[in-house]
């Protein structure tokens, strides 16, 4: 990225002390919240590398939890994340865990259990300056940066999905900046598409995607 906006330079507005260990952590947590929603029973954080080593001093734990509870990186309530989780009856734990040599040093695996006992499993990396990448979602390796409006589509068939999606996007006049297609290992009936687009995604576009044959779920980031 060489075409920095002035707000990449003077910014982000954030809760301190560290753009990578605090702001980035809150953003990863918030991304998990997008997938899990508000009905959360418990959340376990597995901290890797530098996150594991220094999370207490940087408030990484509070920032992650606050993000999962739906707060952004500039929200004052980051500091009170533990108290707010207790009030809402959300159980949480933090553990150090080696997620592998290839994993970015500032990474975390988040396992969320919803009140209906379904699970969201996500791995995110804080790659510097508050920027993040989600690299794993519910058993599927992928990349979501969240830099542009992003549509995440979960589907249970591979047939006709790509052309179906591109047709809908064209009809809604949305430019695709980046598109990737991920399948669970050895499975044809479980996959995820990540589509970054140039503009705000309308409700109409989301409805069209949601009702397309083979689509299980749609998320907008």
């Amino acid at each position: 990225m060489v075409d920095y906006s002035m707000f990449d330079i003077l910014g982000p507005v954030m809760i301190g002390p560290s753009s990578s260990h605090t702001a980035g952590a809150a953003r990863i947590g918030k991304m998990a919240h997008k997938f899990a929603g508000d009905d959360i029973k418990s959340v376990d954080f597995y901290l890797h590398g530098s996150f594991a080593k220094t999370y207490r001093g940087h408030g990484t734990d509070k920032a992650l939890l606050a993000g999962v509870l739906g707060f952004g990186e500039s929200d004052d309530r980051l500091r009170e994340a533990f108290e707010i989780a207790a009030q809402r009856g959300v159980a949480y734990s933090f553990q150090e865990k080696d997620l592998g040599d290839l994993m970015h040093p500032n990474s975390v695996k988040i396992v969320i259990r919803r009140t209906d006992d379904s699970e969201v499993v996500l791995i995110g990396s804080s790659i510097g300056g508050g920027n993040i990448n989600i690299v794993h979602l519910n058993g599927i390796d992928l990349t979501i940066s969240g830099e542009h409006p992003t549509i995440i589509v979960r589907h249970n068939t591979s047939k006709g999905i790509i052309s179906g999606m591109t047709n809908i996007l064209m009809a809604c006049n949305l430019d695709v900046l980046y598109m990737s297609f991920h399948k669970k290992k050895n499975r044809d009936d479980e996959g995820v598409m990540v589509i970054e687009v140039s503009d705000v995604v309308s409700d109409e576009a989301l409805r069209a995607i949601r009702t397309f044959p083979g689509i299980v779920d749609v998320y907008l980031i």
């Binding site: 920095y4 330079i9 910014g11 301190g16 002390p17 207490r56 001093g57």
Partner: protein, 298 residues
Amino acid sequence: MTYRFTTGEELLEICGEKKMTIAQVMLAREVEMSKRSAEEIRGQMLDSLNVMKTAIQAGLHEGVKSVSGLIGGEAYKLSQYAATHEPLSGRDMFQAMTNAMSVMEVNASMGRIVASPTAGSCGIVPGALVSTGLRQGKTDEELVEALLTASAIGFLFSRNATVAGSEGGCQAETGTASAMASAAIVEMMGGSPAAALSAASFTIKNILGLVCDPIAGLVECPCAKRNALGTANAILSADMALAGLETAIPFDEVVDAMYRVGKVMSPTLRETAMGGLAATPTGIRIAERIFGPGHGRG
């Protein structure tokens, strides 16, 4: 795409051709790139200015403590001292330095700040630029304009070198912040774009080679005091440029020199907390007190 620049030289060319300030060129560039209106962009920058002003005040009146307990209360102590003594560095300089420390304490205590350009260097632009502007009776509109200048300088460092301590050491973080503040002060006080770039060059030349060695890996010690130093550096450099002193080495070459110095810096001196002050016996003891035995070395 008329306002895109990638070097200081190109920036000065555009400023000269169009008879514009650095701030005006940066704003035009942002309008061009983002398709947002100038008014909307200025509005967002005003929000950032207000976050800076609030953080400047926060540490002055109450004892702020960092999450680790390593720093906190310094800005309060400084302002108490200034209430009963005549600071040796002069009132305005002392106030600017105190304000920078206040912002750093707010950051370390999980308060709200503007990364400028990073969280570890977030005290310098508010300390040097905003404090000087306020002392000089500048309006919010003028301060927003100055922040636009600062962002243009920060962009050139991000584009052509680095602003990350992990890549370039402290010179890249607090150094860039000082360069941003210094150039913005010069333009705010009526200096030319060339003088602004001279000021930015002075700040880097003054601290070239400064290592990043945070105790326990936390953005606290020595970071807070280096923000105080960076603030003084920015104001001194601005004065030198406003007096007409010129940089012997052009701005773009200074940026490149900083980048190359960062590249040859040992990784132990680039934010890993494995060298410098972090690796002293006391530095290691502090780290172990915060994180437990075995966490003292990097």
